[in-house]
Symmetry: none
Subunit: 248 residues, 2 copies
């Protein structure tokens, strides 16, 4: 390839450096950053550049500046802003379960809506996704990627961008966390069969059937994912009465 010769603007370098300070360094949530003037001196750049960097970081949710006081590291980094969910997943032990529960709630409705609204093009894409999955499995692959594709297209076919974006996020998070905790997607063959059924139901416009099959499908997956895990549906809820901590 060609070296893009990134025109690194000063403020971008600062952004990177500060990010590293936050991530690797000892700077924890709530800590105060050195003053703008100080940073300017340390990095040997103008205060303006530092400010632009801070502005960018602030926009990204890393920092929070308070006039007359100082600049602080946001209590909860980007994750919560960009994606309020990520935090839950990696913090809570049963995060994946909660995530999956969300899927179980949403996706049947998704199938329902898709059966109602899917365009011919979208039906086509679903069709191809299923065929693709078939091929993948014939070659002995897990077909997990294609599996995701199927669900994603479905969300798209439901014609609701809000839902689409949520599902999108959930899928991302699930595959991330699943990589860590739960490798195996149980019985992929079953998955394929179900996808076929769902697709068929959507094609014929049988909304209720589509929703029902999707529900079963998810329960299947869930069972194979979380089998043997205790305490499901019995998770301890954090008491959240107190709003603020006074002292410190």
């Amino acid at each position: 390839m060609f070296k893009p010769v990134k025109k690194t603007r000063v403020y971008e370098e600062i952004v990177v450096k500060v990010k590293k300070m936050i991530e690797k360094g000892r700077l924890h949530s709530g800590d105060q950053l050195p003053s703008e003037r100080e940073l300017a001196e340390v990095f040997n750049v103008s205060r303006s550049s530092v400010r632009e960097a801070l502005r960018s970081l602030e926009t990204q949710g890393y920092l929070e500046s308070r006039q007359g006081d100082g600049t602080y590291i946001a209590r909860q980094p980007v994750e919560t802003l960009v994606n309020p969910l990520a935090n839950v997943i990696f913090t809570e032990k049963d995060g994946q379960m909660q995530l999956f529960e969300m899927r179980r709630i949403i996706e049947p409705q998704l199938a329902y809506l898709a059966a109602e609204r899917a365009t011919p093009e979208e039906l086509d894409m679903l069709e191809k996704a299923v065929e693709e999955q078939e091929r993948a499995m014939a070659k002995g692959e897990s077909g997990m990627e294609v599996d995701k594709t199927f669900h994603y297209i479905l969300a798209q076919a439901a014609g609701n961008k809000v839902i689409l974006s949520i599902v999108d996020n959930i899928m991302d998070l699930l595959s991330e966390s699943r990589d860590k905790y739960l490798q195996v997607e149980g019985r992929p063959g079953m998955s394929l069969v179900r996808h076929r059924e769902i697709l068929q139901a959507i094609k014929t416009g049988d909304k209720d059937l589509a929703a029902r099959v999707m529900h079963e499908h998810l329960e299947d997956i869930e069972r194979s994912l979380f089998q043997g895990v205790k305490g499901y549906k019995k998770q301890n809820k954090t008491r959240k009465g107190g709003s603020q901590n006074k002292v410190s």
Copy 2:
């Protein structure tokens, strides 16, 4: 609850103004913005402030600056970068409807789960929320704030933080956009009655009833919000089968 009285920094105002220029204005993707110096003059602020604003917008993916050339509107706006939801709401005409559709899908399930898992404390909070709403209405207030509280606590009681965070976001977005477009929450009295019913169902642990009433409740609200609006549930979806349009 309490208004944090956001200290509007100059650059933030500029961000908003430029955003509006982009969204409402005739500025299309790829168009060139006025120069920084020009913007500074137009908005009657310093170039520094303009730059900070542009930096923020750039970070958010709205803009792209090229030294020696100019600042241009990014081809593909925020959508996928920042909060994937916020954009939908303000861009799409039917964004609120899509949002609400999401509520209609989630919240009945929420009521269901709450009926299953709510702790005594949470039941108490729900109780209080309803009473609060009662008082507010007796005083002639709309009780919209409390209404939101009710739904929020419910999400909490469902014991699924993923769902909670999503509902939280949706509520925020809805109230923001509703402030602009749809002021009135129809028949608040009915809302109270429904809340009572839902609470009762949850208390007795009748999951299905709770879900059903919630569903009706949301349809009520939806009707009064979107009455007379055409094309609902018939929204045109952008054809996304063919990737590009050749001719125009």
